[in-house]
């Protein structure tokens, strides 16, 4: 399941904003660095952090599904068809693996692997409520952050309801199998109660939120403490400085 895993590592204790800034900087750097060795180093760094947070195995398992497909895809497309300067890395019968294509495939693969792993690491190591608090403390509207967190719980809730509705309609003789026409008709009998139910629930929820003082203006406090430490500040600045350095370096090399 793609959800927060409690822990007490350095990564868990960092301010969520710090994690967003660092992850963002790493991902952008991955795209700025010109050949595959840069992104490889960054990917190793991300995985090392995951290991520190005790999340390495979980992240590798979750990322595997996406990354293995991607790996095969880019290697076939790039490695076999991108000849570059024509240097062959390996030839087996009529099939040739080109060096240039191979390097290019590695570059694409590592860049995307960084995005997937960094985002997984962020989601798994960040309590959603901490993210809300960190954003609210930065002046983001509580209504906006409420939607952010509520939507996380919304999907499983809707899945449960959709299943209950499907069962209730089948019990009234609705056939959910068969021709496309019939399937579309069946979909309507499920979508309408689902949406109406969500709307009715929304009214109660709106009132319940009011009754809990949600729309009250003025300062809020939080049960959870989300400190913004010196470490956080140093890390954020360091990430931005490194990112700026890489950008300047790339611009200079590009101008030359």
């Amino acid at each position: 399941m793609l959800e927060y895993r409690p822990g007490n590592s350095l990564l868990h204790r960092l301010n969520p904003l710090t994690k967003i800034v660092v992850a963002g900087a790493v991902i952008v750097c991955g795209f700025l660095l010109p050949d595959f060795r840069g992104p490889l180093v960054l990917l190793i760094a991300v995985l090392a952090l995951a290991a520190v947070a005790g999340l390495l195995k979980r992240i590798l398992l979750m990322a595997a599904a996406v990354l293995i497909t991607l790996f095969i895809g880019v290697f076939v497309l790039q490695g076999l068809f991108h000849e570059g300067d024509g240097t062959a890395l390996l030839s087996v019968g009529p099939v040739t693996l080109w060096l240039d294509g191979f390097q290019r495939a590695l570059l694409i693969f590592f860049r995307i692997a960084i995005i997937v792993c960094a985002m997984l690491l962020f989601i798994l190591s960040t309590h959603p409520k901490d993210l809300v608090i960190a954003l609210n403390n930065r002046g983001v509207s509580p209504k906006l952050t409420y939607v952010l967190v509520a939507s996380l719980q919304f999907t499983p809730q809707m899945q449960r309801r959709a299943r209950a509705i499907t069962e209730a309609q089948q019990a009234r003789g609705l056939n959910v199998k068969g021709s496309w026409r019939r399937r579309i008709q069946a979909l309507i009998t499920i979508m309408v109660p689902l949406l109406v139910g969500a709307l009715i629930g929304a009214e109660t929820r709106a009132l319940a939120l009011e009754a809990r003082g949600f729309s009250r203006q003025g300062p809020r406090t939080y049960l959870r403490e989300v400190p913004d430490t010196t470490t956080d500040k140093v890390l954020r600045w360091a990430a931005l400085v490194v990112l700026a350095g890489v950008i300047i370096w790339r611009v200079i090399t590009w101008l030359n």
């Binding site: 069962e167 009998t189 629930g201 109660t204 406090t221 049960l223």
Partner: protein, 601 residues
């Protein structure tokens, strides 16, 4: 503001906590219908007020007035005024009032914020919004969880609690704001009996601690013994507003359609026959009734019988008289070709959770009530009746055909199943269209579709609203629409899942008549229910499930006469049966009339 409140408290301690003064309300969606008409009501500080009445009497509207949702949230035309602790609700906002009035809604799940990962965070949510200092939040949130008895659930995911636990969490999360008044709009209609009792016990506690508690409920057996005053609304007006004994006495005297507790009926019948001289007020609990009857009617034959005999214990249960049940026994020996038969059925959910095991029984003919606690396997059982679930081992046959490999939509020609939540199925523009959906699906001829739909709507009292949108009706009527659409399928087997939840006395009676009529036409009617009164009154046969196995199976009298079995199933016998046991009667009356006949000799 706080200063003002302190002053009010000091100056005017005797002023009512809530003062509703000549209020009339019409919703702008239906401006011609005044939901409340000239209602005046005064609620004293620290009192426990029960509000009841038929569906559509204006109970929810009254609750919304106290919390200020009317006029601040709903669009209404309103005259008159409402003052809470001396200040006019029209002049304060909902958020401000929330610190004085806590509100708990009917649906337990819709009122969770949906933005908190643990029960503790949910209870702390209101405090966070109010800007309570961080060091106080946890202490206060834990204290309110403790006040409703769920402090041990603090680290659980709120989305994974039971209905009763969720309802108590909703109560805790408004209690955290330390309101003085707590308003609950039918908080237990969607809960099982144990969950409902837990909620009522918590309310009792809060009342003892000095909170003013206002609760809407149809469950008068739970409500009446606890409240100081019972208010009955009728068509937007206050019909009665008095001590519960007096209100219930009025209700039985006038045969008013309230769900009057059985003990009150028994008291009334005995009084009618001059068997209870000098008991001017009805008892509200079985214990009170036992005391009243034992003390005052030693002259009756039964009176001396129960005074002489030992109180009923588990040992005597086996010796209780069994009724003539030859007819019922026929049902068990039926071969299942007209109903549903289970043969050594086992069902295991993914993850190795066994929900049903060694279940063998034939369900055929008459009204069969299936009872048992939450988690007993009732809903898994129901889904086997129409092939939504297929047994992991063993076989289920519907009208003689094995459900294995059969499509639910085909089985629907033989089994109609109406689920508990009507909103899971209503989707058409009019009630009539909705009711026709079932028969259309199973391929009934057009002419017959309309006839069947009309019959079903007539039986459920829906003809007056047949052109309305189903979603504009209240919950009780929406449930009737869902039931009608399954009834109109005219299947040999009819399954109703908790049909009486949220119904008033009239609605329950309507369903009872429907069940009887269907059974008399030779259908098999299977009712899955928590409502023991319904089972006692209408069941030809009662099946008790516990932990996925068959705990008891027999006619109502023999099942309710086995206290030990009921205890194992966490099921409570109907009040009349408990009263009879308390009086030491060896017979097993199922209705007040039977009990009174027994007592009168």
């Amino acid at each position: 503001m706080a200063e003002l409140r302190n002053r009010l408290e000091a100056d005017d301690g005797a002023a009512p906590e809530v003062l509703i003064n000549d209020v009339s309300v019409a919703y702008t969606t239906n401006p011609d219908k005044e939901v409340l008409q000239g209602v005046s009501l005064s609620i004293e500080r620290g009192s426990f007020i029960g509000i009841t009445g038929l569906n559509g009497a204006g109970k929810s509207t009254l609750c919304r007035l106290i919390a200020g949702y009317i006029p601040h949230f709903f669009d209404v035309d309103m005259t008159g005024s409402v003052a809470v602790r001396g200040s006019d609700t029209a002049e304060s906002g909902i958020g401000e009032l929330a610190e004085t009035v806590g509100f708990v809604f009917e649906n337990p799940f819709d009122q969770l914020s949906g933005a908190n990962l643990t029960v503790l965070e949910e209870a702390a949510f209101a405090l966070e919004n109010m800007g309570v200092p961080r060091q106080d939040i946890e202490r206060r949130a834990r204290a309110s969880l403790a006040a409703v008895g769920i402090e041990d659930l603090a680290d659980r995911d709120p989305a994974k609690l039971s209905g009763g636990q969720t309802q108590r969490l909703a109560l805790a999360s408004v209690l955290a704001l330390r309101p003085r008044i707590i308003v609950l709009d039918d908080p237990t209609s969607q809960l099982d009996p144990l969950g409902a009792e837990d909620v009522f016990d918590v309310l009792d506690d809060l009342h003892q601690q000095g909170f003013t508690v206002v609760v809407v409920s149809q469950d008068l057996e739970q409500l009446a013994p606890r409240v100081d005053r019972l208010v009955v609304l009728e068509a937007g007006r206050v019909l009665w507003n008095d001590r519960p004994q007096i209100v219930l006495k009025n209700a039985v005297d006038q045969s008013y359609p309230l769900a009057v507790p059985d003990v009150v009926h028994v008291w009334h019948e005995l009084r009618q026959r001059d068997l209870l001289p000098g008991a001017p007020e009805p008892p509200l609990t079985a214990t009170e009734a036992v005391a009243a009857i034992a003390a005052r009617s030693p002259a009756t034959k039964a009176g001396s019988a129960f005074l002489d005999s030992e109180p009923a214990t588990n040992d005597t249960a086996g010796g209780w008289a069994r009724p003539d049940s030859s007819e019922v026994e026929q049902l068990y020996t039926a071969d299942g070709t007209k109903g549903v038969s289970f043969n050594d059925v086992q069902y295991v959910y993914p993850g190795d959770v066994t929900a049903l095991q060694n279940l063998s029984l034939n369900l055929e003919g008459g009204c069969i009530c299936v009872i048992g606690q939450n988690g007993a396997g009732k809903s898994t059982f129901a889904r086997h009746l129409n092939g939504l679930l297929k047994p992991t081992a063993g076989t289920v046959k519907v009208v003689g055909q094995d459900t294995a490999g059969m499509n639910v939509s085909v089985l629907a020609r033989d089994v109609g199943l109406a689920f508990q939540n009507p909103d899971d199925q209503l989707f058409r523009r009019t009630v009539q269209d909705e009711v026709q959906f079932g028969p259309e699906n199973i391929g009934a001829p057009d002419a017959e579709v309309a006839t069947r739909a009309n019959e079903a709507m007539e039986l459920l009292g829906l003809l007056d609203v047949k052109d309305q949108k189903p979603h504009d009706l209240d919950l009780a009527h929406r449930k009737h629409v869902a039931t009608a659409s399954v009834l109109a399928m005219d299947t040999p087997v009819l399954v109703l899942d908790e049909p009486t939840g949220g119904q008033d006395a009239q609605g329950t009676e309507l369903l009872g008549n429907l069940v009887r009529q269907a059974a008399s036409r030779g259908k098999t009617v299977i009712v899955i229910t928590h409502d023991m009164h319904f089972a006692a009154r209408y069941a030809d046969r009662v099946v008790v499930l516990a932990e996925g196995t068959l705990l008891a199976d027999g006619d109502a009298r023999s099942v309710f006469g086995q206290p030990e079995v009921l205890r194992r199933g966490h099921v409570t016998a109907p009040a009349t049966t408990r009263l009879a046991a308390g009086l030491g009667l060896t017979s097993l009356p199922l209705s007040p009339a039977e009990l009174v006949a027994e007592l009168a000799g």
